[in-house]
């Protein structure tokens, strides 16, 4: 009796599978072809012969910082930006979101709205709004690209919020912190020893997202005339296209690697990362 039905199902499943593979192939072509083009472009010399000159040049950090000082400055600025933005984002969001969950649940909608708001604001509008702020930043601090971190924190807010919110949803923040407090823990201890260890995955993915976004940011930096990695690449592209494209490809691959790392860490079903489980395992015999 199940024969014809299951037959139909099998046909349907096969069709679905075919469709799925078609989509994946098209997507791979769509994203892969430009990357392949970039690779192709950076491995040819002027006469069209295969050469690794561009890449070996890129790998030689000493000369590259001499020949393209803007590029290395941009890279350093971007790395600093990534670190600063991650730290500021975490310091700003983790305690706030935890506190709202514990004490001000009525405010959670407002906080969510505020955090998601930057998604709806185009970068150019953000720049217009931030211009007076950055006039002050330049006046009080200096014109360094590193201070773009203030704007970037706003920029990454929606993504970081989503990641951390998922983590906080996965644990019973309220009961855990009340249990810890009844055992004698102050708020600092509750945060450091109970909440954060259980948010490890969420914090990691928020940080990864922030790094990926920060390293890829161009519009705001360019409009504020600060040189970060992307702006440096853009400038370089005008004089030495090959090295610029090579750097672009390397940055892209790095971002893809980060996203993969994230989906690996974030894919863990429970709130404990494989790394920490490993470590705990080693600690066991104490």
């Amino acid at each position: 009796m199940a024969g014809p039905v299951s037959g139909q199902r099998a046909v349907m499943r096969r069709r679905q599978n075919a469709f799925r593979w078609a989509v994946v192939t098209v997507a791979l072509l769509f994203f892969g072809a430009p990357l392949f083009g970039m690779l192709e472009f950076t491995t040819r010399d002027a006469s069209g012969h295969r050469t690794a000159a561009t890449w070996s040049q890129l790998a030689d950090l000493g000369t590259i910082s001499q020949r393209y000082p803007d590029l290395s400055a941009g890279l350093v600025a971007s790395l600093w930006l990534a670190v600063l933005t991650v730290v500021m984002m975490l310091v700003l969001l983790v305690p706030t979101m935890t506190w709202v969950r514990l004490r001000l649940p009525g405010l959670s909608r407002t906080v969510e709205f505020l955090c998601l708001l930057p998604l709806t604001v185009p970068a150019i509008v953000l720049v217009v709004g931030l211009t007076p702020v950055y006039a002050w930043v330049t006046y009080l601090l200096n014109g360094s690209a590193v201070w773009l971190c203030f704007a970037y924190v706003v920029l990454v807010l929606p993504y970081a919020y989503r990641a951390l919110d998922a983590g906080l949803r996965a644990i019973d923040v309220r009961t855990l912190s009340e249990a810890a407090r009844s055992l004698g823990a102050g708020w600092g201890t509750v945060m450091a020893r109970v909440i954060l260890p259980n948010l490890r995955t969420a914090v990691l993915s928020a940080a990864f997202l922030t790094v990926a976004l920060t390293l890829g940011e161009f519009t705001i930096a360019n409009l504020f005339s600060r040189t970060n990695l992307q702006v440096a690449m853009y400038l370089l592209g005008k004089s030495d296209a090959q090295i610029s494209v090579a750097v672009g490809l390397a940055a892209l691959l790095f971002a893809i690697a980060i996203l993969f790392a994230m989906s690996f860490v974030g894919g863990q079903r429970d709130t404990v990362s494989p790394l920490s489980r490993l470590r705990r395992h080693r600690q066991e015999p104490t």
């Binding site: 009961t175 009340e178 249990a179 407090r181 009844s182």
Partner: protein
Amino acid sequence: MTTAPTTYAPTTSGGQRGVAVELTGLRRSYGPVRALDDLTLRLAPGELVALLGPSGCGKTTALRCLAGLEDPDGGRIEVDGKDLTRVPTNRRDLGMVFQAYSLFPHMTARQNVEFGLQLRRQPGERRRARAAAMLDLVGLSSQADRFAHQLSGGQQQRVALARALAIEPQVLLLDEPLSALDAKVRVQLRDEIRRIQLEVGTTTLFVTHDQEEALAVADRVGVMRSGRLEQIAAPQELYSRPVNDFVADFVGVTNRLPGHAHGHAAAVMDADVPLLSGSATSGAVTVLVRPEHLAVRPDAAGGAEVLSVSFLGAHARVVAQVTGGPKVFVQVPSRAVADFSPGQRVTVTPVGEPALAVAREEA
């Protein structure tokens, strides 16, 4: 559901370390809701008091005020003679077990139990010994290295109990610790909680909405309604001498029989029932009679008809419809089951145990 409460003999729990707890005139409102309305409650040293009441009556709020997790709008909280009303939770020296599973997911059972001891800067060796002793007390020594997600619900609550007791708290607070567990584990664990509590002698407040649970474990049971304490008494007294119909209804099964009060007795179903103090003494009343305080016998000319008979092990229950009156539950010895069958005419009469009567508005 059984009618007769399983009781422990009233204990003056032999705790040397128990301290007195006193809640005086506690008030707490959430907007228009009065969660606590002038609640006054005293726990003797080493005593286990259960707070019993329907959902939303303020039990959890009372416990959380005592824990310092909720600030009362007014009133006073004293433990061992010291005023703790404004002291934060982490300095109150309490052990808590929550309704929700509350083990720290990133720690093993042992690490959970050691957590409070670490905060108290106990040296490693003593800490480990204490944690081991506590896990042993709750019968989980063999599971010490498991994480919460590797333990059953009952085991998690046991570890939570061990964690709460490890710090030798002055007061133990249990907020419906069993309600997430299935029936069998629930009974096992509640008996074990009582055994452990008697053993360590810690003054304990146990919050529950399950009357059987409250009657089974507590030295005294406080029945709450709308933020107030209706009655607090030993389980047997609460059962046999409820002060009002709310308590009588909430604790055990009660028949509500129409009658007429005359002085200290009431005429109910052609019999006289002596009335408990606090009863209405004249006019039309509703008399609250326990199923075991009614007798039923086959009688072709009787005023009631059997609806169902159920065998409950130690005894049996006959449900009968009084003609032109209420449906009544009668407890009979289990060997009498064969005497009754649905549709049969019977006579139901009170056996004359004292009961509570409340004034009834004539329809």
